[in-house]
């Protein structure tokens, strides 16, 4: 295990989220009832997705500057993990909506925005699958990734806030005003976000390390060269 200390923190934080999130008191709200606890699990999925996509955006720009294929591996694996978290976020959101808003899909602006942004990122994977040449694939997909991240900002953060939405924090709805003031919910929600962030990063680093290993195996010559040039 590499850098085990933050992985231990991750396990402690998410473990606390599972236990504390179910057992600590929450405000009694109509319609939501106990489902308010989903906040500790559904919302961190999206936060983690945004963090991972931001990392992919960073490494895409880095690739365009350095032209090192390692940076492309970072970008694609961060995007892959982000997509996994977005799917979890979408599924948990639909389950939650089914029992509180009445149906799994209600064409809420935030639902539509995230669905669009997920499709944009799915297209990233398809785009990569269609290009055989490594350098070309890395360059085109890095440019596309920058575009995808730039599209995600208005789709998730800006447009849903300009219109009426079922989601809290949009269209004049209070965001965390009702329940975030509750000290017990804060006590779980912030550790939950930090813990899920770390878990997302952990999974992404595992995938990145596998990608780098593969890359190293396929290009042993280049690594010998790099080592020699480092020694020189």
């Amino acid at each position: 295990m590499r850098y085990a200390w933050w992985k231990v923190i991750c396990v402690l934080l998410v473990g606390f989220t599972v236990v504390g999130g179910l057992l600590l008191p929450v405000p009694r709200l109509d319609i939501l009832n106990e489902t308010i606890r989903n906040l500790y699990f559904h919302v961190p999925m999206w936060f983690t997705m945004i963090l991972l996509f931001a990392g992919a955006f960073w490494y895409s720009i880095k690739y365009l500057r350095t032209n090192k294929l390692q940076d492309d591996i970072y970008a694609v694996q961060l995007t892959n993990t982000g997509i996994a978290f977005s799917i979890f976020g979408m599924l948990t959101g639909m389950e939650w909506a089914k029992f509180t808003w009445g149906s799994a899909w209600s064409n809420d602006p935030k639902e539509l925005g995230t669905a669009l942004s997920m499709l944009i990122y799915f297209a990233y994977i398809i785009l990569r699958g269609g290009l055989k040449d490594e350098e070309k694939r890395a360059k085109i997909s890095a440019v596309y990734n920058v575009f995808a991240f730039a599209m995600m900002i208005p789709l998730i953060f800006i447009i849903p806030r300009m219109v009426d939405s079922l989601h809290p924090g949009n269209g004049g709805n209070p965001a965390f005003k009702q329940y975030d003031l509750d000290k017990y919910m804060r006590m779980v929600f912030y550790p939950a976000v930090a813990g899920w962030f770390l878990l997302g990063l952990w999974i992404a680093t595992l995938k990145i390390r596998l990608g780098l290993l593969n890359y190293k195996r396929e290009n042993p010559f280049q690594f010998d060269f790099e080592k020699k040039s480092d020694n020189a």
């Binding site: 396990v11 599972v18 179910l22 952990w202 390390r209």
Partner: protein
């Protein structure tokens, strides 16, 4: 002076009414249905146990994967 006293009385009565009102609102909000039964018979702990088991399994899986990758990196 008299006018002042009346004002004071009125303000005290309003305060009491407001307090009563908030109490009534609180009483109403406790009517909201929550998993109180599960809590009273302890079955919520079963749910916690199930989720903790799944979480422990996922972490074990990640740790083993991490170790394997570390081993591969060393051999390379």
């Amino acid at each position: 002076m008299k006018k002042n006293q009346i004002m004071r009385k009125v303000s005290i009565i309003t305060l009491i009414l407001v307090l009563l009102n908030t109490l009534a609102v609180q009483a109403q909000s406790t009517d909201t249905e929550m998993a109180d039964v599960m809590r009273s018979n302890g079955k919520i702990y079963v749910v916690v146990l199930v989720l903790a088991t799944i979480f422990a399994g996922i972490i074990l899986y990640l740790v083993r994967l991490d170790r394997k990758i570390s081993k591969l990196e060393k051999n390379n």
